[in-house]
């Protein structure tokens, strides 16, 4: 049994009140006055990290993120590379970027032969719906890349 919410009686004053309230929520809830990065900024970081190599997107690097993040303050992210972790097939670093954050850098993991496997997980902040990018650098200089969109939802009443 679903009861109906009574439609509100709208007049100019109450509309203005709500516009004002909504604006206030926007102002308090988000970092103020800081421009977000663009996908181009993130790709520039990838090129710098890759050191001239073309990033491969063949699936050697797996990026795990939720499709929907309930709150951008804590979004789980996991990376793994299918690798022997020795010789040329050794993962040296994995960098994670968020291409719509104020600053696209998130974290860079560094692995060693004692790592055994190139896997790592953490929790990150996402300022809005955007793509998360992971790039792995191998001992032989090869670079692998993966990308995943994450939808960041905003709470029902902003509260």
């Amino acid at each position: 049994m679903v009861k109906e919410v009574h439609p509100m009686e709208m007049n100019r004053r109450s509309v203005l009140g709500i516009v004002g309230a909504a604006t206030t929520v926007a102002a308090i809830g988000l970092p103020v006055g800081i421009a977000n990065a663009t996908p181009e900024d993130a790709m520039a970081k990838v090129r710098e990290f890759a050191g001239g190599k073309e990033p491969q997107t063949g699936g050697k690097l797996t990026l795990n993120t939720p499709e929907i993040a309930e709150n951008g303050n804590s979004v789980p992210v996991g990376v793994s590379v299918d690798s022997a972790m020795e010789g040329d097939d050794m993962v040296e670093e994995i960098m994670i970027l968020a291409d719509g954050n104020p600053n696209p850098d998130v974290v860079t993991f560094k692995f060693t032969e004692l790592s055994g496997e190139a896997v790592a997980e953490t929790r990150m902040r996402l300022a809005k719906t955007q793509d998360v990018v992971a790039v792995a650098k191998m001992a032989n200089g090869d670079v692998h890349m993966a990308k995943a969109p994450v939808k960041v939802t905003i709470g029902g009443c902003g509260g």
């Binding site: 679903v2 009861k3 109906e4 919410v5 009574h6 439609p7 509100m8 709208m10 109450s14 509309v15 009140g17 709500i18 516009v19 309230a21 909504a22 604006t23 929520v25 926007a26 939720p66 929907i68 993040a69 309930e70 709150n71 303050n73 804590s74 979004v75 789980p76 939802t153 905003i154 709470g155 029902g156 009443c157 902003g158 509260g159």
Partner: protein, 286 residues
């Protein structure tokens, strides 16, 4: 400016068009929860006189990633608060040279069940008190220490520590003590009273529309069995009165003071609405 207009427009659309709220996406998940081997009742048969048949923990309305965070007490950041509470237990404060430990030497045993049974009638003040007020009462009367300021980190930590000792135990209030029933009635009255510029009552969202979406969010039954709760939004433990005030504020109303008669009545009634659900403190929510 454009985004502000769109945001305002979506708020207007939401509340002026009830049809938007009615979707099936917000239904509770079918899942079971156990924490550290302790089985948590995330559903319960409603007590007599309750508007629902089945009670659902807010845990069931969350995305799998948020649910997983509560399931693993190692990863649950709310457990830092519980650990801090355990440390505060033996810290001596006040003119009597006592700590909590002076009277309650084994909190793991002594506090078992306590968090499941509050608010409780307090004959001295002639009103129901919650765990936060019980801590203050102990501090003032037994320790000769100052009561905590509302939402002081120590208050949240000690409350979380005490409630955590009842993890998995069913919420059960004794309404036969003192005037508890009168306060329950008053809380119920508040629950169904519309308030604020948006003219919403607790029941409009959490009873009429629980299980529906409110914008991109799931509306839960508004249960309080997991407070203090680790909220991702604040990245900190959030007390139940903080959450009440937040909800009331979101109706664009003036909100009552923490521990006021209004909020103690509301806590009594809302806690009863979760009778039979397990204590989940510290729960994890969005």
């Amino acid at each position: 400016m454009k985004t502000k207009v769109i945001l305002a427009a979506s708020v207007l659309a939401l509340f002026s068009s009830p049809a938007m709220l009615v979707t099936a996406y917000g239904d509770p998940a079918e899942a079971e929860l156990s924490i550290d081997g302790e089985k948590i009742a995330v559903t319960a048969a409603a007590p007599e006189g309750h508007p629902f048949d089945t009670l659902y923990s807010g845990w069931l309305y969350r995305e799998p990633e948020t649910r997983a965070l509560e399931e693993d007490s190692f990863e649950n950041p709310g457990m830092f608060g519980v650990e801090q509470g355990a440390e505060l237990w033996s810290v001596v404060e006040g003119s009597a040279g006592k700590s909590c430990e002076s009277c309650h030497a084994n909190p793991e045993e002594d506090m078992k069940g306590v968090g499941a049974s509050y608010p409780k009638w307090d004959a001295d003040s002639k009103r129901p008190i919650n765990i936060e007020l019980q801590i203050d009462k102990c501090r003032e009367e037994n320790m000769g220490a100052e009561p905590y300021k509302f939402d002081a980190p120590q208050q949240k930590a000690l409350t979380a520590f005490i409630k955590h000792q009842s993890l998995g135990m069913p919420v059960k209030l004794d309404l036969s003590e003192g005037e508890m029933q009168k306060w329950w009635d008053q809380g119920k009255e508040m629950y169904y009273t519309r308030t604020g510029q948006l003219n919403l009552s607790c029941s409009n969202c959490h009873e009429d529309h629980s299980g529906n979406m409110i914008r991109a969010d799931h509306l839960s039954q508004g249960q309080v069995n997991g407070f203090p709760t680790y909220r991702l939004k604040q990245s900190a433990l959030v007390s139940v009165h903080n959450r009440f005030r937040g909800c009331i504020r979101d109706t664009r109303a003036e909100f009552p003071k923490a521990f006021s008669d209004d909020l103690m009545a509301l806590e009594t009634y809302v806690t009863w609405r979760g009778s039979g659900l397990s204590v989940e403190t510290p729960a994890v929510r969005q």
